[in-house]
């Protein structure tokens, strides 16, 4: 992997912030987009913008072909069995809401349980709370330890015949922990077979790891395009065909119907029954381009590079006095979360920005994680394929300066 050649594909990186070269370490929030992804959007609007699945005319056919090719591309990327199992959504949040809403219509019932963990993003907590409120089901959560490692035994003990849904993140956005989801899925299956449905939040996993939904044997897998070099506003819900074809649609509207009379509607087939209204056509096409970027770069190469940066940054940050790393699981992806004694994360964030370094500060939409460590938030540096060791050096020097100013 030639890092200069990679960086050249991300023109946004080549700029100064507060008179310093930009160091973009906020990839966990959203990654930058390579030129080819940006061009795929303008190319769509310049040459074949048209609505999908509707027109008989040439442009509509072309847009529809490209949109459906994007679905195929996603299918291959996560190794789903059928392309109908790929639903385009706005992102992880919408994907999870879709499942939580639909399952609360005719699957989840009073007295039953939904099991999550305490390291979930709010997107994988709140929709389940809402589903529980609607149905009278109960939400349970497995804890994690002081290193940020999920208590897998506790989680297993929480699985009972009442557990109808298990919803877990593959990688924690606040801690970086990679959870052993395969082991957990296998356990749930051995105990409850297919009576318990399993959803995996892959928002922070897909950008960094290669994912095979068939090998995992999860029922649903959700992720966002914008964290994996694609634009905002496009995401994916994978769901097993047998399940999805029985589920109640989430939203009603055009494209999701077969026939409509004022009395009654017959819903369309998968995947369209879950894609009401005009979809994000250019977004899906650009997501496909981003997948090509990742595949051509090599998903394992990306993972190796990011892991090297994480290891290097983790070693170097220990030399800064007062730093405590939040999340020290042996298996981590892309995220270095920390606090510094006697300083507030937002102060560090403001001063790093003055030195051109973009990091995220705050609770990272994972307040239960912060409560657990009894901290208001962390500073989070998160890496992508285009980051370099030299940027880590700049970041560490800037952090040292910030800490000195604040003490």
């Amino acid at each position: 992997m030639d890092i200069n050649q990679i960086r050249a594909q991300f023109p946004i990186l080549n700029q100064e912030i507060n008179k310093r070269p930009l160091v973009y370490f906020d990839n966990g929030a959203t990654s930058q987009k390579p030129l080819r992804v940006i061009e795929s959007i303008s190319n769509y609007y310049l040459h074949y913008n048209s609505n999908v699945h509707r027109g008989v005319h040439t442009l509509s056919q072309k847009a529809t072909d490209k949109y459906e090719q994007a679905r195929q591309k996603v299918r291959q990327f996560i190794n789903a069995n059928h392309s109908e199992e790929i639903i385009f959504t706005r992102g992880t949040t919408e994907s999870i809401n879709l499942v939580a809403f639909s399952l609360s219509q005719n699957f989840l019932q009073q007295g039953e349980e939904v099991l999550i963990s305490e390291m979930e993003h709010h997107s994988n907590i709140v929709p389940w709370q809402m589903a529980c409120e609607r149905t009278g089901a109960k939400l349970k959560a497995a804890s994690f330890d002081e290193k940020g490692i999920l208590n897998v035994e506790e989680l297993k003990n929480l699985v009972s015949e009442k557990t109808k849904i298990v919803a877990l993140t593959q990688v924690s956005n606040a801690l970086g922990t990679i959870n052993p989801i395969k082991e957990i899925i296998d356990y749930v299956r051995s105990k409850n077979g297919n009576n318990t449905l399993i959803l995996i939040d892959g928002a922070q996993a897909v950008p960094h790891l290669s994912v095979d939904v068939q090998a995992l044997d999860c029922d649903f897998y959700a992720f966002s395009g914008h964290k994996m070099y694609a634009p905002t506003g496009i995401g994916v819900l994978y769901g097993k065909k047998e399940l999805m074809s029985q589920m109640t649609p989430y939203q009603g509207g055009g494209d999701m119907i077969k026939t409509v009379t004022i009395e009654k509607t017959e819903y369309n087939e998968l995947p369209y029954r879950f894609e009401a209204g005009t979809p994000n056509i250019s977004g899906a096409i650009a997501l496909s381009e981003a997948i090509d970027f990742m595949l051509e770069t090599g998903v394992n190469e990306i993972a190796r590079h990011e892991h090297e940066l994480l290891t290097y940054a983790t070693e170097k940050i220990k030399t800064v006095s007062g730093v405590k790393i939040i999340g020290e699981a042996p298996n981590k992806a892309g995220v270095l979360s920390f606090v510094v004694d006697g300083t507030h994360p937002s102060d560090i964030g403001v001063l790093l920005d003055k030195m051109g370094v973009a990091v995220r500060t705050g609770h990272h939409c994972a307040e239960p994680v912060m409560d657990k460590f009894n901290i208001p938030g962390t500073v989070r540096a998160s890496f992508a394929v285009y980051n370099t060791r030299q940027e880590v050096d700049i970041f560490i020097a800037a952090l040292e300066k910030a800490v000195n100013l604040l003490r």
């Binding site: 937002s346 003055k354 938030g377």
Partner: protein, 138 residues
């Protein structure tokens, strides 16, 4: 000193700084020197919850003038609070309601008062005015 004069004094002070480091060093210093708020006022009622940092604000009326005390868990926010209190505290409700916070722009700190920053400062200024409005009727 009038509110106007207090603002001008701050603008003059900040004119000395020609790089961001000096400026922020000064703000951090101001934050450290901010008189301690009485712990009994650090209640949930006085808490302004931002996404990034928390701010507590208390106000009392003494002889027709309003005195504010405040605190934050973030030091840069605290430094800016110190500037705001220097300007607003100890004036009549009418004066406070008539004043603006343009001096913050002039000293180049407007980014901290952006409504989208969610550090509690924008809500704090609103709250400063709300207190003035509420206490002006007493």
């Amino acid at each position: 000193m009038t509110i106007q004069e207090a603002q001008q004094e701050i603008i003059d002070d900040f004119a000395f700084f020609d790089d961001w480091m000096d400026k922020y060093e000064h703000i951090i210093e101001l934050g450290k020197e901010l008189p301690q708020i009485d712990e009994k006022y650090k209640t949930d009622e006085n808490l302004i919850k931002g996404c990034q940092s928390r701010v507590w604000l208390h106000a009392e009326n003494k002889d027709g003038k309003i005195y504010y005390s405040a605190d934050s868990d973030a030091i840069i926010a605290k430094g800016i609070i110190s500037l705001l209190l220097k300007v607003f505290s100890g004036h009549t409700p009418e004066e406070i309601l008539a004043a603006n916070t343009d001096f913050i722009n002039e000293i180049g700190l407007q980014e901290h008062l952006s409504p989208t920053r969610s550090n509690g400062l924008v809500s704090m200024i609103k709250q400063i005015k709300n207190y003035a409005l509420a206490l002006s009727n007493n």
